[in-house]
C-alpha cells in the first residue's frame, strides 16, 4: 500500500523523523487556514501517488494568503500523469542548504536490508543513479543485526554528507530504519532529506510503501486505507477483498494464483483475444470468494465472455464449483462462461457442475482450449 506524502510524513512522526510543520487541505479556503498556521512562506504541494509533481506544476511556493489562493486553486483538480489532485499538503517553506537522498528497502537477491544514501538528492536522483552510481552509498544490513548509531555515522561519512549534517543525519537514518523495520515498510524513502541553512536535517518529502501482509499487527493502518482508484470495477473488487486489476479487453478472467492468472492473460492474448481484467482468487479460496469474483466480472459492461481457469492446490475445485453455482443462483450472469478446472478435488468439482452445463456454462479440458473458446465467444479473432 503506497502512502500519500502527508500520510508518509505522519507515519515518520511516529518514529521521530523530523518534518516541516504543515497540514492537509481539500479546498482553497482550507489551504489558507493551514498556511496561516504553518507560517509564511509556505509550499503548496499536490498529493498524488506519482513522481514528477514539481515538474508538472504540482508544487508551488506562496508568500501570502493571496498566493496560496492562487496556487491552491490551480493545483486542485490538476491532472498529473492521470492522477487528478484532490488534496493538498501545505507546509512551512524551508531554507534549503543541501538536498540528500535516503531510503531503505529489501534487497531481494541478497536477502538483506539495503540502505541508500546520496549527497546528490532531489528531483534528479534517478538520473544520478543511472549516470553516476558511485554518488550513492549503499549499505547492506543484516536484519539480525540492524543498524547501529555507529554504523550510521560511518555511513554518512562514506556518503560524504556535509560535516554540519552528519550527526543529525545519522540519527534520522537510524529512525528511518526503525520506521522501515518496525513500521513494516516495503520502502521508506526521503527525497530530499535536507540540510537547512540553520544546520538542521529533516525530511522534505516522504515516500512510504507499507507491506499489507503486516496489516494484522498495525491497527493504526486502518485510517490510511481507502481506495485511491477511479476504476469502479477495482473499487467493487477491493470492497470484496479480491486481487483485481481492471484492463480494457472483453474476456473476463478468474484464476487462482498470481502466476496462473498472469499466464491466463498471456494465453488469451496469444490466441487473439484481450483480457478485461486480472483476477486472482488466491490460495484456499472458498465458494463465497468465487461467487464475489463472478459478480465483479459480471458488473463490467465490456465483458463478453468469462474464462474461469482453476488449478487447485490448496484451493479446492469443489469449493470453486459451489461458488459458481451460488453466483448463478444469486445473479444473472450476462456472459457465457468457459470453465477449465483441474487439481485438488477436480473430479468432485466437475461432478457438481455437470448438471448445470449448457451453452452458457461450458467446460474445456485444457487451458489453451478454454482460452480459445472464451475468445471465440467474446467475438474476437482466434488463431
Amino acid at each position: 500500500m503506497d502512502l500519500y506524502e502527508y500520510q508518509g510524513k505522519q507515519y515518520f512522526h511516529r518514529f521521530g523523523i523530523p518534518t516541516s510543520p504543515g497540514g492537509v487541505a481539500d479546498t482553497v479556503e482550507e489551504a489558507v487556514v493551514q498556511a496561516d498556521e504553518a507560517g509564511y512562506p509556505v509550499v503548496v504541494k499536490a498529493q498524488v501517488k506519482v513522481g514528477g509533481r514539481g515538474k508538472a506544476g504540482g508544487i508551488k511556493l506562496a508568500n501570502d494568503p493571496g498566493e496560496v489562493r492562487q496556487h491552491a486553486g490551480a493545483i486542485l483538480g490538476l491532472d498529473i500523469k492521470g492522477h487528478v489532485v484532490k488534496r493538498l499538503w501545505i507546509e512551512h517553506a524551508s531554507d534549503i542548504a543541501r538536498e540528500y537522498y535516503a531510503s531503505f528497502t529489501l534487497d531481494r537477491p541478497n536477502k538483506l536490508h539495503l540502505g541508500m544514501l546520496s549527497k546528490e538528492g532531489g528531483v534528479d536522483i534517478e538520473e544520478v543513479a543511472a549516470t553516476n552510481p558511485d554518488a550513492i552509498a549503499k549499505l547492506h544490513i543484516d536484519p539480525v543485526e540492524g543498524l547501529s548509531q555507529e554504523a550510521a555515522h560511518r555511513w554518512v561519512a562514506e556518503a560524504d554528507l556535509d560535516e554540519a549534517a552528519r550527526d543529525e543525519a545519522a540519527t534520522v537514518l537510524v529512525r528511518l530504519y526503525h520506521c522501515f523495520v518496525e513500521g513494516d515498510c516495503d520502502l521508506a524513502e526521503i527525497n530530499p532529506l535536507i540540510l537547512t541553512t540553520d544546520g538542521r536535517v529533516h525530511a522534505l518529502d516522504a515516500k512510504v510503501t507499507l507491506d499489507e501482509n503486516a496489516a494484522y499487527r498495525h491497527p493504526e493502518w486502518e485510517e490510511l486505507a481507502g481506495t485511491d482508484t477511479d476504476d469502479e470495477r477495482e473499487k467493487m473488487a477491493k470492497e470484496r477483498g479480491l486481487n483485481y486489476i481492471g484492463l480494457s479487453g472483453s474476456v473476463g478472467i478468474i484464476a487462482n494464483g498470481a502466476g496462473l492468472a498472469m499466464s491466463t492473460l498471456d494465453v488469451v492474448t496469444q490466441v487473439g483475444g484481450s483480457a478485461a481484467n486480472f483476477l486472482d482468487i488466491g490460495g484456499g479460496a472458498n465458494a463465497a470468494i468465487m461467487a464475489s469474483a463472478m459478480e465483479v466480472i459480471n458488473a463490467d459492461p465490456a465483458v463478453r465472455s468469462i474464462f474461469v481457469n482453476i488449478f487447485g492446490g490448496i484451493t479446492k475445485v469443489d469449493e470453486v464449483a459451489k461458488g459458481i453455482i451460488e453466483a448463478l443462483e444469486r445473479v444473472e450472469i450476462r456472459s457465457p462462461i468457459v470453465l477449465r478446472l483441474d487439481g485438488t478435488n477436480a473430479v468432485e468439482g466437475r461432478a457438481l457442475l455437470a448438471p448445470h452445463l449448457s451453452d452458457r456454462l461450458m467446460a474445456e479440458s485444457t487451458m489453451l482450449g478454454g482460452a480459445r473458446r472464451a475468445v471465440a465467444l467474446a467475438g474476437e479473432a482466434t488463431q
Binding site: 536477502k111 507491506d211 494464483g257 502466476g259 496462473l260 499466464s263 498471456d266 488466491g282
Partner: protein, 295 residues
C-alpha cells in the same frame, strides 16, 4: 534419484490439527509420504487418523526421528514454527503459508543462515515438493505427477507448478522432482539452489523452469546456467501481458533498472541457450522434443 527429499524422508506436519493441515497432511500420507507426526501446541497426546500429535517439535523429532517438516499454520505463527523446526534438528522445512510479512521472512531467513546453516527452507508461500512415486510434501495434487523422470521442474508460481506437472504428464514425460520455490520476497530456496541440485542428480536429464515477472531471480538463474548447467532447460516466464506492477519508488527503480520485466528475463535465459516458450502448453511440447533428442 530425486533432489532434497526421497521415500525415506520422514515428515512432521506443523499444524496437523487445523483444517488445511489435516487435509493436506492426510493427502500426503495417502500418496505414500512418511507422515510420522504432527505438532499443535496443547494437543499433544491426541492423533489425526493414527498420526500422533505432539505439543512441540522437539518432542516430535525425538519420538519419530523425523528429518523434514511441513509448516501449514497462519502467517503470524509461521516464522516461529520454522525456527522451532530448525531448533529441533529438522533439516528440510516446507512452508506453504501465504501472507507472511516481508520483514519476518527476511529476519527468519538470516537467522536460519547464521544459526542453522545446514537447514534448507522451501517457501514460504510455495506449493511444496513432490518426487513422484516417492514422496509429496505440500499441497500439490499427487495425481497430476508422473514417476520415472527424466525431467526436473522448478517453479516460482504455485498454480503454474501444477500446470507444468500436468503438461508433462499429459505428454507422457515423468518427473524426478518438482520443486515450487514460491513467489515471496525472500524465498528460502531459489532457482539456483534447485538448478545446482538437478545438475548434480544423474536421473534428471532436463529441467523445466517456470518464472514470472518481478525481482531478478530469473536473471541470476540465467547467469548460473551459463556458467554451471550442462543439461537442457525449457523455460516459461508468466506475465508478458500483465499490467505493469507497482513501482517501488526510486529505490525500486535504482535496484532493478531494466530487470524484472518478462522480456528482460526471457532474453537473459535465451542468451545462455535456454529454450524459452510462450505458454505452459508449449513448454510441455518443447520438452517432448528435448527428451526425444536425449535418446
Amino acid at each position: 534419484m530425486s533432489i532434497f527429499v526421497d521415500e525415506r524422508t520422514k515428515v512432521v506436519v506443523q499444524g496437523l490439527t487445523g483444517g488445511q493441515g489435516r487435509f493436506h497432511g492426510l493427502r500426503n500420507r495417502d500418496y505414500g509420504t512418511q507422515v510420522v507426526g504432527g505438532v499443535t501446541p496443547g494437543k499433544g497426546g491426541s492423533d489425526v487418523e493414527g498420526i500422533p500429535v505432539f505439543d512441540t517439535m522437539t518432542e516430535a523429532v525425538e519420538a519419530t526421528g523425523a528429518d523434514a517438516s511441513f509448516v501449514v499454520v497462519p502467517p503470524r505463527f509461521a516464522c516461529d514454527a520454522i525456527l522451532e523446526a530448525a531448533v529441533a534438528g529438522i533439516s528440510f522445512i516446507v512452508c506453504i503459508t501465504e501472507g507472511i510479512p516481508a520483514q519476518d521472512e527476511a529476519l527468519t531467513y538470516n537467522r536460519l543462515k547464521r544459526e542453522f546453516p545446514q537447514v534448507r527452507l522451501l517457501g514460504p508461500n510455495c506449493p511444496g515438493i513432490i518426487s513422484p512415486g516417492k514422496t509429496n510434501i505440500g499441497i500439490t495434487s499427487g495425481d497430476i505427477a508422473m514417476a520415472g523422470g527424466p525431467v526436473g521442474i522448478v517453479s516460482r508460481s504455485g498454480t503454474l507448478t501444477y500446470q507444468a506437472l500436468y503438461e508433462l504428464s499429459q505428454q507422457g514425460i515423468g518427473q524426478t522432482t518438482c520443486v515450487g520455490i514460491g513467489g515471496d520476497p525472500v524465498p528460502g530456496t531459489n532457482f539456483i539452489d534447485c538448478l545446482e541440485a538437478f545438475e548434480a542428480d544423474p536421473d534428471t536429464r532436463a529441467v523445466m523452469m517456470i518464472g514470472e515477472i518481478g525481482g531478478s531471480e530469473e536473471e541470476r538463474a540465467a547467469e548460473f546456467i551459463g556458467a554451471h548447467v550442462t543439461k537442457p532447460i525449457v523455460a516459461y516466464i508468466a506475465g508478458v501481458t500483465a499490467p505493469p506492477g507497482r513501482k517501488m519508488g526510486h529505490a525500486g527503480a535504482i535496484i532493478s533498472g531494466s530487470q524484472g520485466t518478462a522480456k528482460a528475463k526471457m532474453e537473459a535465459l535465451e542468451a545462455v541457450g535456454v529454450a524459452v516458450v510462450a505458454n505452459p502448453t508449449e513448454a510441455g511440447e518443447r520438452m517432448v522434443e528435448v527428451v526425444r533428442a536425449l535418446g
